[in-house]
Amino acid sequence: MMPVTLTWGTDIGAYAVGRMFGKRKLIPSVSPSKTVAGAVGGVIVAVLVCWGYTQLLLEPLAQLALEPAAVLLFAVAVSVAGQVGDLAESLIKRDAGVKDSSRLLPGHGGILDRFDSLLFALPVAYLLLTLLLRPARA
């Protein structure tokens, strides 16, 4: 659940920050709406969400912990991977000449439109969790 929460938090944070402060485009040839400010904002939101998740859920409920540096590394890596995944699917759609992957989810596009970030973020998250997760100290 943690990678999912981080990825969705990144998505919402990047969109909100990009709308408020975004000026410089991130990679206009692939995704005309994404901005550098949005990308950075997404990473910052991910770090905050990751810290909150470990403090409020991971340690008390699962007795697992991430060291502070690990929280930062995990959040940044998963957030960046998720944003790359979003750009990758934008590239695929642009290559195909379609706006949405499908119309299965009214108002949201298709399944891939909602899961594109997760598809890149999840393997990164899994690898890092195997390396960084520790039992919480009593």
Binding site: P3, W8, A62, Q63, I111, L118
Partner: protein
Amino acid sequence: MSELTRRILFALAGAPLTVALIYIGGWIFAAALAAVAAIGAWELFRMAREGGSEPLEVAGVTLAAAIPLFVHAAWLGVYRVTLTVAVLIFLALLAGVIWVRGVQRRPLVAVSVTVAGIIYAALVSYMYQSGTMITRSGHWPEQCW
């Protein structure tokens, strides 16, 4: 409804559902991921067709759906797909498409797009890996399996 509102609503609706599926775990979770992988593969193949490719949709959607189920089977120790089996499946796809479609219909592109679609859509299986890793820490109820 604004785009931001749509994204927040999706997250609010999706989060409890995801938590519930991870909590339930087991074959139900794997089956849900299989459904997501199958739909994702179908969407990818649809986009590939729009772009001019002819992926092997039936085989691709089936194999994409199978991967989360095989991941679950591997976690249970029931069956583990080896690299050799994966290679044989790839060779069977390639041989089959060459035989059925011939050279003119670009069999190598068709198989490449199909394999890429299977792998891409089945990456959702890592949700099973991550979720099961935490639930198997021993601090969740047994039904999480």
